[in-house]
């Protein structure tokens, strides 16, 4: 990300991400929030692409921007509200405290990141990452990969059972 | 064969538990038969071990040791000596009797007998463990089944069974927490890292190496004293015992009063005295005073009780005082007496609770004022009561006499005046035991009980088994005392060396 172009793209993406994320919270309508989240996720995918994670960018768009958002939207629909207005109101009571906590957290993190910068060295060759990831997934991380598969299966069954109700 | 004999004794109830899991809960008869057979097999093997134990040789015999967690120095070690073998025998005989005394349990019998067998395994394991880790493991195995059994099969009288079960469990767990701290400290202190071991035999040598300083022994012994003292219902940590027994079902009362309490005394001797001799010596005066509290105070309280189980509950507190006295006198005679008294009290209190269980089961009454003239309708139960009662009073010819005499003699050598107070306990014991016996057994016929049958069939087994042991060891006390003494007598020089250690009294005197 040494060149200026990349820097500009990064800042643009960053602004989109932050604004979209803020939109999720700010929107009073839950559907708007979901749309805003899609935007956010796509922007993040862009960020990944910028950081030489092109496969992940694709995954991000497919899974997050596609599946997850659709799932959530579906969920919102299935709770069968007539109007989606004012479904997503923030609780004013907690705002100050929450702002304090999050602000504090951000400040701390910021201090740490700025005060103790890590060396930024890119040694990886540019190009297709899919091969390398496949090598890793089916080699070094074989077991984790299988366990993830089992986890997904369990989640699927769990979701079905939970949503359907075990006794029905 | 002889190596794994103890493991087989331990395993027999476990195998029965596994078998029971596959038996439908409705097959009540088979469940009870399997439990009876398992305990019977254990008992027979224990008797074999008891007969074949060489008193002259003494020490640990029938040892078996398999390394388990070698990094921590844990090994599955079992073995018996003259201290643990009588306790093992006691456990098995009471376990066998307890199964038969629960013969009429019809509410969830499967669960009941499974828990009972687990409980017995735990207790047995505690007594024969040659490894502190196994000891703790088995001890913790014991507490939980008891809680469940009290809650489900208990009875509510003065206090609810939930309260009783909770009190009992919490007391024992708090006690074991202290104990655990002490044991871990001991483990860490006794040997340098890399050589650490849980082997009790090795730990018993640690004080000779000088790794256990005197102050360390004093502190750790105090922790153990609180732990084991609570278990032994040492005054003032005794109130769980009457309430617990009152709430518990018969079999649990029998095992608890008969054997479980004895883990306290056993632990004090095995870990307290043999591992931490200086600590034992230091705290001995305090133990004596508290033990006198047990003997006299609990006897007084027993005198005014209205519920049969409470009388016997307090009576067991009182008798445990004798055990503590025998322990704290710290000489071979008194120690022999203390261990023998644990056996004696185990047998008689188990018999007592079995009889009370029958009476309660048949009449649904436990209040002394409401029971009267049981000898008319239930002569056999009356015989059981008389045997247990007279043994409790310390009548020669029954098991209770010689251990008490031995304790008194040992105590007399050290603290003659306190011994006199302790001996006065025999009068109080006579008062409360006779008061109960004459009120419930004798007196005019109570026609309301005419339809109630006497004990018969399997119900007679506890009476017969426990009663015959009561008389056998009463007439031939050498059978018991000889075995214990075979292990205790070699400690003579060990105990004599203790005379140089300071006791609390000396330190106290120094302060003033």
């Amino acid at each position: 990300m040494a060149d200026t172009m990349a820097s500009i793209i990064f800042y643009i993406l960053a602004i989109i991400i932050v604004v979209a994320a803020w939109g999720i919270i700010y929107c009073k309508n839950l559907v708007h929030s979901a749309l805003s989240m899609t935007l956010c996720f796509i922007a993040i995918a862009g960020l990944y692409a910028l950081m030489q994670a092109d496969f992940l960018a694709a995954v991000q768009i497919m899974i997050y921007a596609g599946t997850v958002v659709i799932l959530i939207a579906l969920g919102i629909m299935m709770t069968r509200r007539i109007s989606m207005d004012r479904t997503n109101m923030p609780e004013r009571r907690y705002m100050i405290w929450t702002a304090l906590i999050t602000g504090g957290l951000f400040t701390c993190l910021g201090i740490i990141f700025i005060e103790y910068p890590l060396a930024s060295v890119n040694v990886k060759p540019e190009g297709n990452t899919v091969d390398a990831i496949a090598q890793l997934l089916l080699g070094k991380y074989m077991l984790s990969f299988e366990i993830a598969a089992v986890l997904l299966l369990a989640a699927m069954i769990g979701a079905v059972v939970l949503a359907k109700g075990a006794d029905e | 064969m002889t190596d794994s004999l103890l493991s087989m004794i331990l395993l027999a109830p476990i195998v029965a538990v596994v078998l029971l899991l596959f038996i439908p809960p409705t097959a009540k008869k088979s469940i009870k038969l399997i439990a009876a057979m398992a305990t019977g097999i254990s008992l027979l093997m224990t008797i074999y071990v008891y007969i074949n134990y060489d008193n002259n040789l003494g020490g640990m015999q029938f040892m078996q040791s398999i390394p388990w967690i070698s990094d921590l120095g844990v090994a599955y070690t079992v073995g018996v000596d003259g201290i643990s073998l009588p306790m093992l025998f006691l456990t098995n005989i009471i376990g066998f009797a307890a199964v038969f005394s629960s013969w009429n349990i019809n509410e969830r019998p499967k669960e009941f007998f499974i828990l009972l067998l687990i409980l017995l395994t735990g207790v047995m394991g505690t007594f024969i463990a040659g490894d502190l880790f196994i000891f703790l493991l088995c001890y913790e195995l014991v507490v939980i089944p008891i809680y469940i059994m009290v809650i489900i099969w208990g009875s509510t009288k003065r206090v609810s069974k939930e309260y009783a079960g909770m009190k009992l469990t919490i007391y024992l767990l708090i006690g074991s927490a202290f104990m655990l701290v002490g044991i871990v400290a001991l483990y860490l202190q006794a040997f340098p890292a890399g050589m650490r071991t849980f082997s009790i035999a090795a730990l018993s040598q640690a004080h000779l190496l000088g790794t256990l300083s005197q102050s360390f022994q004093i502190i750790v012994f105090l922790l153990l004293l609180i732990g084991f003292g609570t278990l032994l219902s040492m005054f003032p940590f005794h109130t769980w015992s009457p309430d617990g027994y009152a709430g518990a079902p018969t079999a649990v009362s029998m095992i608890h009063a008969g054997v479980l309490k004895k883990i306290g005394g056993y632990g004090l001797i095995r870990l307290g005295l043999l591992v931490l001799p200086a600590g034992a010596k230091f705290w001995a005066p305090i133990i004596i005073v508290l033990a006198l509290g047990n003997v006299i105070y609990a006897a007084y309280v027993a005198i005014v009780q209205k519920d049969l189980k409470y009388v016997i509950g307090y009576s067991s507190v009182s008798h445990m005082g004798y055990v503590l006295l025998g322990f704290a006198a710290l000489n071979t005679i008194s120690l022999t007496g203390a261990i023998a008294n644990m056996v004696a009290h185990g047998i008689m209190s188990a018999l007592f609770f079995a009889m009370i269980g029958y009476v309660y089961e048949k009449t649904h009454k436990r209040s002394i004022d409401k029971l009267r003239g049981l000898a008319h309708q239930m002569p056999r139960i009356a015989v059981g009561f008389m045997l247990a009662g007279m043994s409790s009073v310390g009548l020669p010819g029954l098991i209770g006499f010689m251990p008490e005499y031995t304790i008194f003699l040992g105590l007399f050598k050290v603290y003659p005046f306190l011994a006199i107070i302790a001996v006065s306990g025999i009068v109080f014991t006579a008062i409360y035991i006779l008061r109960v016996l004459q009120k419930i057994l004798f007196g005019p016929r109570n026609y309301g009980f005419d339809a109630i049958p006497d004990a018969k069939g399997p119900e007679m087994v506890p009476l017969f088994v426990l009663g015959s042991v009561l008389i056998l060891f009463g007439i031939f006390p050498q059978l018991l005392l000889g075995m214990i003494n075979g292990t205790i007598a070699p400690l003579q020089s060990f105990l004599q060396a203790l005379n140089n250690e300071p006791s609390l009294l000396v330190v106290w005197g120094g302060i003033w």
């Binding site: 999050t102 | 109130t239 009073v393 010819g397 003659p416 050498q478 205790i488």
Partner: protein, 632 residues
């Protein structure tokens, strides 16, 4: 034959014990069979005992040179005890007395207990009692004695409470056990002290060690041990102040009263002192105490007996009084007199009890002597035997009591005049109340039309005992009892004619007085009672000692017990329950933190994260500074 008897003397207690086990386990329901077994065992014991006596006489076994046989009972480091057989004239005499009276009582009971539901049980208990008592007699050491001492106590408890369906019987049994238990407490401590001081409780060993010990250490500690040991006999032999159980013990069947509470068990205390006389003889202060306590008990019990109305109660107090005599004899140093009186007393007192039992049996268990009356004609044999008994106890020549009582009084007179005077007054009172009993029961108005016939089983023992009561004294006197049963030097057999004359005259006077009051009614007893007023009431109510003890008991047993229980419930348990409640209360407070809102938890969690972060920042800065400053 002699050797056989001695070598097999251990069978004497063992055979009745076996009878107990056999009857108790198998034949309790077979009445005749159980009685047969018991009598058979009793006969065996008696024959063996008699053979032992013969052997002792023949083999010249003396008090100094007893025959001893023992086996190890317990042996552990620092402590060992034996059980065994010790035959010397003392124990041989006791053996024969006990086995003879036991046998006669068993025969008597065949008739007396007829029709009772607990027939088998009765004979089982009696057999157990004989076994224990005989075992006590041949004890070789204090522990063996204590063991059997307790066992006879158990039998006494069981037999007093034999009619367990009667509340009075069960209370009496309890009282007997507990009261004697208080005595046993002292005895046990005494034995423990002996064991501690000398390392042994064996009679023969102690006998050899003692003189050496006394020479070295004096008698101070020994006196205390002696007092402790003596507490046992106080309880067992019904000495003041632990005598209260004995009159109540009459709740048991009459044969039991005769055997246990007159002839044998209650003299165990006397026997114990006699057995360990080698110890007591060294302690003059203690002997003095024993003598005075015995004399006081004798007088005190006699003064109660005068006013009692129940026949067995009178006899019970008389027993206490006679036991006091025996103690007094021991106290004044005459073991022979004491043992002699023990022998004769066993015969005439069991005779009196059995007779009383026969009387009560005949008239539907009526106990009040003033409701009997005029039984002379209806029960001639009982009347004759009772008369012999009364004359014997009153000390009229030539009956047994005369000789033994005279020896005691002579011995007392030799030591202390006041003791002699008390003894003589007691003898006078004894003669009076026994005559009163005899006259009231057998003379006067007939109050019972129908009288049950006394069975032969009951008559034979009465006859045998009356012969013994009549002649045992003279026989013993002539036969050299004093040579035989003695401590130290043999007692020369000479009669102090003066003393004998005085006591005989007093006895005759007492009987005459009783005749005037109760038969010819010259002085009416009621009027005398009224005139005596206070004294009569006090005596009739047994000096209110029972009531006093009841109050003591209520205060020191029940009262303290209640206080202790209160402490247990509300202080010890109170603390525990308070702690538990406190825990629950705290958990209530802390559970308020659980709002059920995940957001709250998250917020708190992140507060923690921030704190950690801040800490890390500060700490890392410090580390960096240190690193920069070359701190590492």
């Amino acid at each position: 034959m002699e050797l056989f008897a001695l070598n097999h003397a251990w069978l004497i207690p063992l055979v009745p014990a076996a009878a107990f086990i056999i009857i108790g386990l198998f034949f309790k329901e077979f009445h005749q069979l159980s009685a047969g077994i018991a009598v058979l065992a009793g006969t065996f014991s008696f024959i063996m005992s008699a053979a032992v006596v013969m052997a002792v006489l023949d083999a010249g076994i003396s008090v100094e040179m007893p025959f001893i046989q023992k086996i190890q009972w317990i042996k552990i480091a620092g402590m060992h005890f034996s059980m065994g057989v010790m035959i010397d004239p003392l124990s041989a005499m006791m053996l024969v007395v006990v086995s003879l009276v036991a046998l006669l009582v068993e025969i008597y009971s065949i008739g007396y207990m007829k029709g009772d539901k607990g027939y088998g049980r009765f004979f089982a208990y009696i057999s157990l009692f004989s076994a224990s008592m005989l075992g006590l007699n041949i004890a070789v050491n204090f522990l063996q004695m204590y063991v059997f001492w307790e066992l006879v106590g158990l039998c006494s408890y069981l037999l007093i409470g034999f009619y367990y369906y009667r509340i009075s019987a069960r209370e009496a049994a309890k009282k007997a056990f507990i009261t004697t238990r208080i005595g046993d407490f002292g005895l046990l401590i005494g034995i423990l002290s002996l064991q501690m001081v000398f390392g042994t409780v064996d009679f023969m060993e102690l006998r050899h060690i003692l003189p050496v010990y006394i020479a070295a250490n004096g008698t101070g500690l020994l006196t205390i041990i002696g007092i402790l040991l003596f507490i046992g006999p106080i309880g067992k032999s019904g000495q003041f102040p632990l005598h209260v159980w004995l009159p109540d013990a009459m709740e048991g069947p009459a044969p039991v009263s005769a055997l246990i509470h007159a002839a044998t068990m209650v003299v165990a205390g006397v026997y114990l002192v006699a057995r360990s006389y080698f110890l007591f003889a060294q302690l003059p202060e203690l002997l003095h105490l024993i003598a005075w306590l015995g004399a006081f008990t004798a007088f005190f019990a006699a003064s109660i007996a005068i006013t009692q109305r129940e026949i067995k109660r009178i006899l019970a107090y008389s027993t206490i009084s006679q036991l006091g005599y025996m103690m007094m004899a021991l106290g004044v140093g005459s073991l022979t007199a004491s043992m002699f009186h023990l022998l004769t007393h066993a015969f005439f007192k069991s005779l009196l009890f059995l007779g009383a039992g026969a009387v009560m049996h005949a008239i539907n268990e009526e106990a009040d002597i003033f409701k009997m009356g005029g039984l002379r004609k209806k029960m001639p044999l009982v009347f004759v035997t009772m008369t012999i008994g009364v004359l014997a106890i009153s000390g009229l020549p030539p009956f047994a009591g005369f000789f033994s009582k005279d020896e005691i009084l002579a011995a007392a007179a030799a030591v202390s005049m006041p003791l002699y005077i008390i003894g003589t007054i007691t003898a006078f009172m004894t003669a009076f109340y026994m005559a009163r009993l005899l006259f009231v029961v057998f003379w006067g108005k007939e109050q019972h039309g129908h009288v049950h016939k006394t069975s032969y089983f009951m008559q034979i023992p009465l006859a045998v005992l009356s012969i013994l009561a009549a002649f045992a004294g003279a026989a013993g006197y002539v036969g050299g009892f004093g040579d035989w049963v003695r401590f130290g030097e043999a007692m020369p057999e000479h009669m102090n004619i003066g003393l004998a004359g005085i006591s005989t005259a007093l006895s005759v006077a007492a009987i005459a007085l009783a005749w005037h009051i109760y038969v010819s009614k010259k002085y009416l007893s009621d009027i005398i009672a009224q005139k005596m007023g206070f004294i009569y009431t006090v005596s009739f109510n047994k000096y209110y000692i029972d009531e006093f003890y009841a109050i003591l008991c209520r205060i020191f047993i029940d009262g303290i017990g209640k206080i202790m229980y209160f402490i247990d419930l509300y202080i010890i348990d109170g603390i525990v329950n308070t702690m538990a409640a406190l825990t629950v209360y705290c958990s209530r407070i802390f559970s308020k933190l659980q709002t059920g809102q995940i957001q709250t938890y998250v917020a708190i969690f992140f507060c923690g994260v921030i704190i950690l972060l801040v800490y890390t920042i500060v700490f890392f800065t410090k580390i960096n500074e240190l690193a920069a400053g070359g701190g590492f």
